[in-house]
Amino acid sequence: MIRILVTEAAIDLAAELEGLERAGGGAVASFTGLVRDDGGVEELFLEHYPGATDEALAKLAAEAENRWSLAAATVIHRVGAMTPGERIVFVGTAAAHRSAALDACAFLIDRLKTDAPFWKRETRGQDARWVGERESDRHAADRWKRP
């Protein structure tokens, strides 16, 4: 059971986790990313590639479901304007075994960072700037490549 959502609305963590719990795996792992204040950020704006985003996330979720025999996988990404403390991204997995749920959750957030077409712009006062690529994100995504 795969659930993909790209939305301007706030992420309802409790509802999402309950959905994963009902999938019947017994082990549920989740990752939530929040907007950070990072030196006075007032607004974080998330742009995306509407035609391609859902498909990129669904592809990652299907890969994870397959590789770790998941009972369920959920990937939700906010777009539009947000303020510090708000949830940007939620990844949740349900599986029969905890290592499958945990590894698949880490895989999904690592790969989402490099494979899904989202871009962040931070606004501090009058200064708006697009966030640059992080080398560490590429390394994190690479470790999931299989021989």
Partner: protein, 86 residues
Amino acid sequence: MAAVDLLYFAWVRESIGIGHERATPPAEVADVAGLIDWLAARGGGYAEALADKTRLRAAVDQLFVPLDASIAGAREIALFPPVTGG
């Protein structure tokens, strides 16, 4: 080649000033890199956004591709900076 939808995102979109246009590249434009050079030659925001290819990524028909990927038969080509979601 036929007309193609061009999409720009993040600072590429902001520099160029629009997020979407249709264009018909000349036949000698064979790959994404060639398309970038052809667009940059328009000058202004295009030149500014597209001058440094190491800062650019692309998708052809919504699939991420390297810049030497062919654009033959493409209906939609997107140019953008490295992604920073999550």
